[in-house]
């Protein structure tokens, strides 16, 4: 259990230190994730670490609540152009989701159709 935490925190620490040292704008945990992925491609981690990781992923939405609350709590600061900003976010996100998904679907159908486990319903 303690070892599992050391693994995850350790990779976060390495990622954070490396990005700070290299002056790259990538968040430390994201860099740590990439490094741990490389490690896992070469050699497996303990079952405990994998268990801890999957329970953290299961509660990922909860972990975003404090940050999301911060946005809600500060909405009054930008109330002036909030409507316009919300409109930009909504339209641009819908358009970009559609474009990205459509291109992926089109090309994937040609080069590597989804297996049964990779498709909906």
């Amino acid at each position: 259990m303690l070892n599992a935490w050391l693994w995850l925190l350790g990779y976060q620490l390495i990622g954070t230190a490396l990005m700070h040292f290299l002056l790259w704008p990538i968040p430390g945990p994201v860099a740590g994730m990439v490094l741990l992925t490389c490690h896992l491609m070469l050699r497996q981690a303990s079952a405990f670490t994998e268990q801890l990781a999957s329970s953290l992923i299961q509660y990922l939405p909860l972990l975003f609540v404090p940050a999301a609350t911060g946005v809600v709590a500060h909405l009054d600061l930008v109330s002036g152009s909030l409507g316009a900003m919300a409109l930009v976010i909504a339209l641009s996100t819908l358009l970009s989701l559609w474009a990205t998904g459509w291109v992926f679907c089109r090309l994937a159908r040609k080069v590597a159709p989804a297996e049964a486990a990779e498709r909906r319903g």
Partner: protein, 236 residues
């Protein structure tokens, strides 16, 4: 009566109360979603709105709330590192779709900021707001860095990024169902690219394959947008 009041004031100053409320309200919001069985009832959005109302009604500053909520917030770091496990499991299969990934990556990374720019021109938003909106599809710590570089407002950019994530997590499933995109790889990748962490969290709740591809989309989007957005919009 006075003691009761005093007790509430005392609790409000303790991290414990806000930590408990964060977890408890999220749990209630998740149960509500399970009951209503619709992605429109996104637990992150409902919990954030409910806690926002409580803070407003009790006149509690966000910094005081965060004293308690920071324990939950801190776990975000190790949780992001954890995403390496599903990612490493999926990677051997990812090679088959390197072409769809790279082409849709370019498309998404161009459409997201360019559509923002066009809409901002149409709605005549001010420059700092515009520059803060350009990175809305990128995870908030990276979005702050991009906004700084572009002459936007970092804290506003972080907020807009979170709002984008919440909006995406709410609409993405109904949108893709309606469009008939059945490929979880495409659904996940588009979600991660455009709606970063909050979208990725939603993708994992739908399907593990969607979650893994969302991680890929989110990571590539964060890495490349910090180069691409200044390149596209700083020259003018």
């Amino acid at each position: 009566m006075n003691r009761l009041n005093e007790t509430f004031v005392y609790l409000g100053q303790q991290p414990l109360l806000w930590l408990f409320l964060t977890v408890a309200i999220f749990q209630l919001a998740s149960q509500l979603q399970r009951k209503l069985n619709t992605p429109l009832a996104n637990p992150v959005a409902i919990a954030a709105a409910a806690i926002g109302v409580i803070l407003w009604a009790s006149d509690t500053p966000y910094s005081q709330y965060f004293e308690g909520a920071q324990f939950v917030h801190f776990l975000l770091g190790p949780a992001v590192v954890s995403l390496a496990f599903p990612l490493a499991r999926e990677l051997p299969k990812v090679r088959r779709v390197w072409l769809p990934i790279s082409v849709s990556l370019v498309v998404g990374l161009l459409v997201a900021p360019l559509s923002v720019w066009l809409l901002c021109q149409a709605l005549t938003l001010t420059d700092p707001v515009q520059m803060s909106l350009l990175s809305k599809h990128v995870t908030s710590p990276v979005a702050m860095g991009i906004a700084n570089q572009m002459g936007g407002i970092a804290s506003l950019a972080a907020g807009l990024s979170v709002l984008t994530g919440i909006f995406g997590a709410i609409v993405v499933s109904p949108l893709f169902n309606r469009l008939g995109f059945v490929d979880y790889r495409a659904r996940g990748f588009a979600t991660g690219l455009n709606c970063h962490g909050i979208g990725t969290a939603h993708a994992f709740s739908v399907h593990p394959v969607a979650g893994s591809y969302a991680v890929i989309g989110m990571a590539l989007s964060a890495a490349l947008s910090s180069l691409l957005i200044p390149l596209l919009f700083l020259a003018r």
